[in-house]
């Protein structure tokens, strides 16, 4: 990137809520069912049908808002956003306009050990559209010869979270999306699966010359279906805009489509010129009022969130990188950590072992979930502290624990890994090695220091590796001097 250019990025996230029923009707919220099987007069926009708000969805958007440190509007309304599209049954979307349920919050993200606070402009409640299948060559919209419509998704509750333009790099964009997804997943309000489209990202990007310059013309990019493609698309778009501006071109305000295969953004040239949405208050619905009592009640149901967890882990003495990794690790690993500490283990050691060796073991064994006795892990850490296990022996003990071979001690005993702590036995092994290797002793005394390594090896072999090498080394030097 040329010196002086600063990217300005805002991200809009659409989250499908995992309620039982849709936003305004009693059809099931489902994924992957036969087309047009979860539809009713309301979500198909049959003449005369009316919407009624799903109270659970409102509770959940408040939950999301509170988790993102938002203000919750005591009074808000739904609006109609008017535009014609084949998969939008009413040809207006029930959404929110000037008074959303949640506004003015923030989310902390970490990139390369640095924390950045990203402002949340608003989070509003709306409904999803149906799905259009563009039939024809390659399923591409431009080459389609027919549209097939499925309205199962029409009316699924959707929360739109709009960030402030506080994001300054593609890596931050990715971290924001990942962190937000994590929060949503932990709240239990959405499946939060990118591949199923239950969480979707759009990015608004512009570049400007330095942090004090006016914002440049922004471009919206769509169709990123993984965190990696979000990062790549943002990165591509930043470079494209800079190149365009440095070639004395201009940026056109438009929507661009991320083409995953070609790894470029392309202009979505549609005939949809004007976007005059003619918002007005939805007359079929009444205003939403969130009383302080309701807000407090929802606040009391919030689980501990990653950033709160990270702070707690730091206070327990876990180092920053490990606390960060562990606080956003999956539930099984986190509860293993909590339980291990609960069973008396040192928090820093437990965190290191779990984010290090446990995760590495899972990767090696290609398992994505573990069921492990935390007391055994705590016991293993205690044995390391008591010098009963060497670091390498402990890895073997952990392997045994993870394979369900028993407690740490049982594994250590059955695999014969307990470190020799009896100094008398080590001393006699040292003595017999010195007696059996007079030339080596001679060479050491002639000044050949490195021969000690050979002697340590001999002692380790004699004790079948159970002696503490450090202790052996000390004892040898003492006896040789």
């Amino acid at each position: 990137m040329s010196v002086g250019w600063e990217p300005v990025i805002g991200i809009e996230v659409h989250v499908e809520l995992a309620t039982q029923s849709k936003m305004f009707c009693g059809c099931a919220v489902s994924f992957g069912e036969a087309p047009n099987t979860n539809v009713c007069p309301t979500c198909l926009a049959l003449p005369g049908a009316l919407p009624v708000t799903n109270g659970k969805a409102i509770e959940w958007i408040i939950k999301i808002g509170l988790a993102l440190h938002c203000e919750i509007s005591e009074w808000s309304v739904f609006h109609r956003k008017n535009y014609f599209y084949a998969d939008l049954p009413k040809n207006y979307q029930i959404s929110q306009y000037d008074v959303p349920v949640c506004h003015d919050g923030w989310l902390d993200i970490d990139v390369d050990g640095e924390t950045a606070r990203i402002g949340i402009e608003r989070a509003h409640q709306e409904e999803d559209t149906g799905k259009s299948l563009h039939m024809g060559e390659g399923g591409r919209i431009h080459a389609a010869t027919e549209t097939l419509l499925d309205f199962n998704r029409a009316g699924v509750p959707l929360v739109e979270v709009v960030s402030k333009p506080d994001i300054r790099s593609a890596a931050q964009a990715r971290a924001y999306a990942q962190t937000l997804r994590q929060v949503i997943a932990e709240l239990g309000v959405s499946d939060a699966r990118l591949e199923e489209g239950s969480i979707r990202f759009d990015a608004n990007i512009s570049v400007r010359q330095g942090p004090d310059a006016e914002f440049g013309t922004k471009v919206e990019i769509k169709n990123m279906n993984s965190f990696r493609s979000l990062e790549k698309a943002v990165d591509f778009e930043i470079k494209r805009q800079i190149a365009e501006l440095e070639a004395e071109g201009t940026i056109i305000q438009e929507t661009r489509h991320w083409d995953e295969e070609a790894a470029v953004t392309t202009s979505m040239r549609t005939k949809e010129g004007s976007s005059d949405y003619r918002y007005f208050t939805e007359p079929d619905l009444v205003p939403l009022v969130v009383t302080p009592e309701w807000r407090e009640h929802i606040l009391s149901t919030l689980p501990e969130l990653p950033h709160q967890r990270k702070d707690r882990y730091l206070a327990l003495g876990v180092d920053t990188q490990t606390a960060l990794a562990l606080s956003s690790a999956d539930t099984a690993l986190r509860s293993l950590f909590e339980d291990t500490v609960g069973a008396g283990a040192d928090a820093k050691a437990a965190a290191n072992w779990i984010t290090g060796e446990v995760v590495a073991w899972m990767r090696r064994e290609s398992v994505d979930t573990i069921d492990v006795d935390s007391a055994s892990v705590a016991e293993m850490i205690g044995m390391i502290d008591a010098n009963e296990l060497s670091a390498s022996a402990a890895k073997e003990v952990l392997d045994g624990i993870l394979r369900g071979e028993g407690t740490a001690r049982a594994v250590a005993e059955s695999r014969d890994l307990i470190q020799m702590t009896d100094t008398g036995a080590i001393e006699s092994a040292v003595d017999s090695v010195l007696a059996d290797n007079p030339d080596a002793v001679e060479r050491y005394r002639a000044g050949e220091q490195k021969v000690v390594g050979f002697l340590v090896g001999q002692v380790m072999r004699a004790t079948q590796g159970k002696a503490d090498p450090k202790a052996v080394n000390g004892l040898l030097r003492e006896k040789l001097s």
């Binding site: 009693g26 087309p35 007069p41 309304v77 419509l149 619905l285």
Partner: protein, 104 residues
């Protein structure tokens, strides 16, 4: 509201743009007639602007009540055959329509 934002009379209407927004494919001459009819109606309707509404909140709902919620329960859907029987065109369980964009 700021009275200076009120529109001057007579009212000028970009009728082709409005018809496009409303998805009404109407011939030129009909649009011309509609433009003058709309202007007349709007000049009458614009009388509301004479009312002093300084500090007045708009009425959103006649009875002024709030928070009408339904329980999050599945109450069932329509039978698909019945749904698609209403459709002008259907295929393989889907509603069918022309492409979103023209081929040129």
């Amino acid at each position: 509201m700021d009275r200076s934002t009120l529109l001057p009379m007579p009212i000028d209407i970009d009728i082709a743009h409005v018809a496009r927004l409303a998805r009404l494919d109407l011939p030129e001459d009909e649009l011309d007639t509609l433009r003058s009819q709309l202007s007349a109606i709007l000049e009458h309707a614009a009388k509301v602007q004479s009312l002093d509404t300084e500090g007045v909140e708009p009425s959103n709902h006649p009875l002024g009540f709030v928070n009408a919620f339904r329980e999050d329960v599945v109450t069932g859907s329509l039978d698909r055959d019945e749904v698609l029987a209403m459709a002008p065109e259907a295929r393989d369980g889907y509603f069918a329509a022309p492409p979103a964009m023209s081929q040129e």
